[in-house]
Structure formats: C-alpha cells, structure tokens
Amino acid sequence: MVRAFLAEYREAAESVSKTLAALEAGQPLTTEGRHGLCRLAHMLRNAGLFLGFVRLAAIGRLLSDFGPDIVPDTILPATQIRLLVAGCETAGKLISGIETTGQEPALVTELQTIGDLAHELGLPWEDTANLEWPATKLTNELSDEEKITRLLQEDLAVASPKKKSAAAADMIAIFVQDAEEILDHTEQDLLRLEREPARLNELLRHFHTLKGNSGLMGFDGLQQVSHRLENILQAFRDGQATVTAEHIRFFLEAVDALRRRVAVIAKGGSAESDEDALWLERIDALRHEAAKPKEKIVPASKPEPAAAPAVSRGNLRVSVERLDYLNDLSGELVIAAAMVHHMSECRPGADVEQFNRALHRLDLITSELQDTVMAARMVPVETTFRRLTRLVRELSDKTGKPLDLQLTGMETEVDRRVAELMVDPLVHMVRNAVDHGIEPAAERRKAGKPATGSIRIEAMHRAGEVWIVVSDDGRGLQREKILAKARERGLVGGATTPADEDLLAVIFEPGVSTAETVTEVSGRGVGLDVVKRNVERLRGRVEVASTPGQGTVLTVKLPLTLAVIHGMLVRAEAEQYVLPILAIRESFQLESANRHRTPGQGEFIVVRGETIPLFRLANLFHIERNSSPSAAELVTVIEDGERRVALLLDELLGQQRVVVKSLGDALSRIPGVAGASILMDGRVRLILDVPSLIRTVHGRVT
C-alpha cells in the first residue's frame, strides 16, 4: 500500500516540479498547475492520515490550506513560491527517507524553514519537529498491510472514543467523495468510449485509483472488483480483446453496483457484500469471453500518451454547512455596513470626508466578500447535465428509438442548489421528450425526418437569469388531447377555450399525462408537475412552446443567484417591500387623465402604444388604505420578460443589495412573495416575486 502511494506520488511530484520551475522563472501559475499542486497536497495529507506520517500530513495540510487562495493566471509573490518549493522539496526528502528506512526522517532545518515561511504568510503550521508518531517506530519486518492495521489501531487507541469515530468518519467521507467522483468520470468515459477509443486510458486510471483508495480503507471486496475490472481493461488496451457494446453495458452495470456499495458505505454501512463473489465470477466469465474475437465495434487502441487528460476545472469541495455559514455571515456584514451608513446620516461629524472614505472601503470589502461567497456557491451545469447522457442511452435501449443528445453551455454556472434541484426536472423533461415527443424511427422516416431523434439541452445566461432549454424534434404536443384531459380533470371549463400558452401549461399540472399508453418510461401522470414544483421552489418559471410535427421546447428560467439581489425598497401605504431591480422597467408619475377604466373595474395605462394593466399593490396585498388618492400617482412598470404590469406604489425608498432569506416551508408558496430580507433597521421586509405577481394579476384580467 505504501508502494501504491509512492508510485502515485512520483507521478504527481513530476508534474508539480515542472510547475514550480515555471513559477521560479517568473511565469504565472496556470489552472492546471494549480490543480496539480492541490492534488499533490491532497495526496500528502491523505498519506499522512492513512499511513501515519505526521510531517507529510502537516505539509499536505499546509499546502491544501494555501492552494485554494491562489488565483490562477497570476504571478505569485516570492514568499509564496518559496513556501511551495520548500514544501514540495521537503516532502520529497521525507518520502525518499520513507522509501529507504520505512520511517520519516526528522529534517529539522527544512521543517523550520517551512514553519517560518508559513508564519510570514499567516498560515497555520503545526510544529512537527518533536512529534513522534508511535507508528513510525514500526519495524520493516511487518508487511505494509499489517503496518497500517497497527497504525490505525494505535491511532484510534490514543484518540478519545468520540475523536476516534470522528476521524474514521472523516476518512470515510473523503473516500466516498473521491469514489463518487471517480465513478461519475468512469461513467462518462464509458459512454464516450465508442467514439473516443483513447478514453480507455482514462478508464484504466479511474479503476486503478478506485482500487488504491479501497485498499487504503481496507475495503477488500471493492478493491478486488476494481482490480479485476482494471485487468479486463488492460487486456483491451493491450489488444488481446476488443470492446463491444455488450462490454460497455457490462461495465456500466458494474459502475452502478459500485455506486450502490459506495452509497452503503457513505451511510455507515458495511463495506463487504455478498455481491462481490457474484461480480468476481461475472468479471472472470467476461474475461474469458472477451478473449474470443467478437463483433467489432471499437478497435483496441494502442496506449496513446498524447491523449489529453480529462480537463479539470480545479473545482474545490466546500462543505455545504460552511458555505451556508459564510453566506449568513456575509449577509450580516451587509447589514452592518448599512448600519454605518445610517449612522452617518444621523450625525454629521467633524471629519466627514475621512468617515466617507472608510465607508467606501467597507462597501468595497462587503461586496467583494459577497461576490466571493456567491461565486463559491456557483457550479457549472456540466455535472447536472452529464447524468443525462446515461439516461438518454438507456431510454434509447428501452424504447428502441435511436436518439442523439446534444448538450451545450455546459460551462454555464448556476447556484449549487439549482444544480441539485434541477436534476429531477431535467430527468422528467428528457423522459417526456423521448416518450411523448420523439416518434419511432419508422414514423420519423415517413415524416421525412432523420431516423435518429434529437434532444438538445442548452444552458445560458440571459437577462439576469439562467435559462435551461430542453428541446426535441419530435411530433410536438397534441393540443386536442391536452384540452380533453384538462376538461376531464376540471382544469378548464367545458365551454372555454384557453389561450394556447395557458393550454400548454396544463402539462405541468399533477395527474395530466398525454401518453396514450402507460409505458415504462413515462405516462403515469406524474413527472412534469415535479418540474413545475422544483422550478418554483427555485423562484423560477417554466415555459413551453410546441409546433406540431416539429417538436417541443421547454424553457426553464431561473434567477441567477439565490443568495443576493439588487432591490428597490418600495412603500405601499404603511408597508414596505423589496422589488427586484431587474424586474423594473420604468417608474413615472401618472396623471389621472392617463388612467383608463375598462368595463368591470379594470384599469390600464398606455405606454408608447402598449396597453398595460394597472393595479395598486396595496389592494393586491389587502393593505389597509389610509392615504387619499392624489392627482398624480407613482407608477412602476414591472415585467417578467414578456408580460408587463403597472403597479401603483406610494414611494420608492432607494436601492440596495439584499440577502434573500427563505420564509420557511410553511410560507414559501405565497403568490407574489419570493422570500424575505433583513434590512438595516433589523426589520424583515418581504421580497416581491414579480413573475408570480404578474401571473396572479393576469389571471384576474382574463
């Protein structure tokens, strides 16, 4: 096991030494370079943790504390470079010491240097010079495995029972995170293997890593399964066998089985399972089978050193709790800053200019901190989208419809919560497209379309929102069927014919399914309502467009961030609300002569030739009227991207950034209210939900 670590270390250290050489030559740190550094730091820390090398662990911890702060593509200050170089070199010396003697050498001077540099940079550093881990005294006569067992036992014996379980839980958590990530990559590479034979090398690496990690944790079953799978891949690579679609399916199944096992481990369950023996048998069977020539799909590729390594985005894992805490904290800071502002208004002091400069600085820091925290919450949609590749492949198998999935805008960043809550809706939208949209190949040919059905999923930033568009080139929604279903369920009155967009929106109602037959894929009348529900939870909306014979387009529109918005504080009678700035089109004084009344109480205004319905916010929200109507009133036109509504307000009180807080589950679905925010006076103000306000209002007019 120590040997496995050493091999991995050498590989990582080589790439890092190149990075360091470049840094010393005054070049900026590249994203890949930073990734390499973080990887090495992680490896050293884990090795320290697992194998009991304190000094290595300390260096690893130091470097991983430091890594996330480095901004890629900048030239690092000399002290930082010196620390990196000293850290990596010392780690190298420690490791050569371990290789020859099985123990960490003391290296007092080197570690002292690192400590000084860390101190200079204000980084935490444990003085390891005098630390002597009981484990390092073990003799070389023991095998690696025995050493680790002993190490762990001693370590656990020293620690208090509580600490012991915490340490073990920590190790398991690290293992699970890694394993999940590896399996995700494995799945993707398997799915791409047919088109890109070079992926085989990536796959080998994934299974190799998984094998190593499982071994370190003592998960023998997992280790053996990954080992055998690796062997088969090896055979493919060496040209002893060829990869068929059947093999890929087998491997995908294996990935699922491994995922289930990891999930069990994550919940604190046993790592061993009866399934292992079965899998080992199946794998061996496949191995013999694979040796015979078969239908050839992929030519066995030669090892291809030029194959580009999987592009890593240098992602950082941040615990959700920590993120939420940071988020709250930055929110409080915003409030604090607002309070200082408030003070300056009340007491004009002597040195106003200086005070204002200080304020300006506080503002800068505040928004900087907020932006950083928000950025940390953002993740590319790639991970969310990636899962759909597998889904489409399976749906294609099940329904017998050839399908092509195109993903664009994978780099688009969304809030972490959006990424999580959008998984289910996307799955349902894709299933719906395959089952109800895409016709069987024969029918498509008859209609003059390509036999392969096409599904496009696109993510983009538009107008301060994130749009996720799912489109298919299938038969389109069948309006008559939807209308019939809507009437049957009483969603539409028997005589009325709803507007097209309202009719199509019916598909998002629970219990509405237009599938003629209930299939395994979808059609039980559950599904698209999940889309609507989750999207609304994210304060977004979903729109549908469909052309018969040409396909359906579902567009999910979500707010860019869930954490902070720019708002306009408005007053309606005695109450104050926050109106998101992005939803405000214009504000002006409205002369009573320009207000028009329709039969039946409705009012509207005309702006540049467009008629816009007019409402008083106080009435919509049942706020008690105290003021008497005046000749000219303040009107604010709000819009949700297409529809507009004019709101009569009493006062605009000014703009500010506000932190969005949830009203809690019980009050989360009040029409017109998106959430709450705590303002500088410590009071809660509600944030208006413009799309939902417009919907309610339009619902009344028509």
Binding site: E603, F615, L663, G664, D665, L667, I678, L686
Partner: protein, 171 residues
C-alpha cells in the same frame, strides 16, 4: 377520551402561559426561547392568525396568533405580551415558529396522573389543539398539542375561505 398515551405525551415539564384569561401549557422540550413583543412584518395573502414574520438573529421566523387560531377575541399587545419561540424538527431541518402569549407564567412539572382527558364538547367546538387538561389542585391548565399547532398543512385550509371573500377591489 384521552388514552394513557395522550396523557404521557402532554405530561411532563410544561411552560405555562395565559391567553384570554385561561392558562395553557406547552411541553418544555418544544420551547426554544421566549422573546419580548416586537414589531411583526405582515405577510399578505395568509390566514389572519399568521401575524407575519420577525427577525430572530438573522433568521426569519413566522409568528402565530393563538387567540385568532383558537377563535378567541383578538387583543392588542400589552406590556407583558411576549412571543414564545417553538422549535420542531422537520425533514428539511429545524423549524422555528413564534406564538404570541398574553403573559408567560412558569414552568411546572405535570405528572401523568394529573392529566385528564380533554372535555368532550361535541363536534361544533374544535378542541383538537388540546391534548389533555392538567389539574394542579384548583388550577386548570390546558395542555397544548404542539404538533397540531405547528402543522402548516392545516394553516392554509382556513385561508381558502377567508381569501375568496377578500378578493374584490382592484386599483
């Protein structure tokens, strides 16, 4: 009739408070803290017993008016009026909810044998909120079922009715 099980549920240490002259009790485990009366931000389009929300150290917490919830006459806040913050654990995490009390009296231990069944007043009087009646000598304490009070699915059943009658005037 209260079963033994009900007695067990509402018996134990209770925080007692006054509402419209009656004394009520809440299991102490459900109470996070008691705060002074403060201005409450009204939330539109909710049943009238939801007074609105307050800021509890950065958290937005809804506040209920039990007088209205129980069909008692509303009363303006007095000097002893306070807000009892209740905590409950939900699948989405810990939930805090405030309830308004005329005045908080004390914490008393109520033994299971001191708990009587809630009175049977026929179907027209809703006493589902009362899990039992504690009798300490001459003192009578209505022991509340926190789960019933905090069941937000129930909150909006009432709203459906009050809302429609309000939907009239536009601009």
């Amino acid at each position: 009739m209260a079963t033994n099980e009900t007695n067990m549920n509402v018996a134990g240490k209770n925080l007692t408070f006054k509402l419209n002259g009656e004394e009520y009790g809440l299991p102490i485990a459900a109470v996070q803290e008691i705060i002074r009366w403060q201005e409450i931000t009204r939330v539109p389009r909710v049943p009238n017993f939801i007074l609105g929300v307050i800021n509890l150290r950065g958290r937005v917490v809804p506040v209920l008016d039990l007088r209205r919830r129980f069909g008692l006459p509303p009363a303006p806040p007095q000097s002893r009026t306070c807000i009892i913050i209740l905590q409950s654990v939900h699948e989405t995490g810990q939930i805090l909810t405030g309830i308004v009390a005329d005045e908080v009296t004390e914490v008393v231990e109520i033994l299971p044998e001191q708990v009587g069944a809630p009175p049977e007043l026929g179907s027209r009087v809703d006493i589902t909120f009362v899990g039992g009646v504690g009798q300490l000598g001459a003192r009578v304490i209505l022991l509340l079922r926190v789960d019933k009070i905090l069941d937000s699915n129930e909150w909006f059943v009432v709203e459906q009715m009050t809302q429609t009658e309000k939907e009239n005037s536009y601009a």
